[in-house]
């Protein structure tokens, strides 16, 4: 094994983002990613956006429920829970 890993380029970084966030990279790969991030504003921004996207998917704003569905479900609620 080489003592120093090849530096990562941006095009490789974007394919490793999910593995990086999931914590499934080897220690060596993780260090390559982190070293690259320290020197690359573009990838740092990309990572931040990626995180933001993931987080926002978990907090998607409500979308309007079909009024018939809603009425129907409310009737079920009254029957089962009220």
């Amino acid at each position: 094994m080489r003592l120093f890993a090849e530096p990562l380029v941006c095009q490789e970084f974007v394919e490793l983002v999910t593995d990086y966030l999931e914590g499934t990279l080897s220690r060596r790969e993780r260090r390559r990613v982190e070293r690259h991030l320290r020197g690359c504003d573009g990838c740092d921004a990309y990572l931040e956006e990626f995180r933001l996207t993931v987080r926002s998917l978990g907090e998607m704003p409500p979308e309007p429920t079909d009024p018939h569905v809603r009425e129907h479900l409310l009737a079920a609620f009254r029957e089962l829970r009220a």
């Binding site: 974007v14 983002v17 999910t18 956006e49 926002s56 998607m60 704003p61 479900l73 829970r81």
Partner: protein, 203 residues
């Protein structure tokens, strides 16, 4: 966004209709979106979602708050949808859905990079609301339609992982795929969603 779970669950258990309406408005459309990836028709998806809500109402007293309320509801949907898909014998096994769009190759368009692999143009900053570290309300309003445009496997995985909040091993198990494969599909899906959002910012 819903109230904190604990308070909402207490209200639901107490028979508070407004709490139930809040819950339905938060998740009904998302549940339909996921149901549609498990069964063949909208009518079947509607049945599955209705059974899910009835399961929620009946199971509320047994909910132990070990996961979020949302994740618990989506798990009920997954169980109903799988039962239904088996009963209808119409489910195509997930691993056989070889969509060409899910293909191999890099997730990010190679033209985004120069010949040396550095950014041809630095990534566009998505416009984030600073205090919450979330996308702006306007951008978040597009998330649903963006997810709807994903190839089916990607749509299923991103809905289960990032929208419903299931963890990787659970998603892999649910879909009968390896955890590694689950991560590859998730990565493609997230990459596409991020890309689609930047297009709204630039538009």
């Amino acid at each position: 966004m819903p109230s904190p779970d604990h308070a909402l669950v207490a209200r639901l258990r107490a028979g508070d209709e407004a709490a139930f309406v809040e819950l339905v408005d938060c998740y009904d459309v998302q549940l339909r979106r996921l149901a549609r990836t498990f069964v063949r028709t909208n009518a079947l998806a509607d049945d599955v979602v209705q059974e899910t809500w009835l399961g929620v109402l009946r199971g509320l007293d047994r909910f132990e708050e070990r996961s979020s309320l949302k994740t618990w509801i989506f798990r009920i949907l997954v169980n109903r949808a799988r039962t239904r898909a088996v009963r209808e014998a119409r489910q195509v096994p997930f691993s056989s859905l070889a969509s060409p769009e899910d293909g191999e190759g890099p997730a990010v368009d190679p033209t985004a990079f120069a010949a040396d692999g550095t950014w041809a143009q630095p990534p566009t900053r998505l416009d984030a609301e600073p205090e919450a570290r979330l996308l702006s309300r306007e951008l978040r309003g597009h998330l649903g339609e963006v997810v709807d445009t994903l190839p089916e496997q990607q749509r299923t995985v991103i809905l289960l992982r990032d929208v419903a909040g299931l963890d990787g091993p659970e998603v892999a198990e649910t879909l009968g795929i390896s955890e590694g494969n689950q991560r590859v599909i998730l990565h493609r899906a997230r990459t596409r969603v991020r890309q689609a959002l930047t297009e709204y910012v630039q538009a």
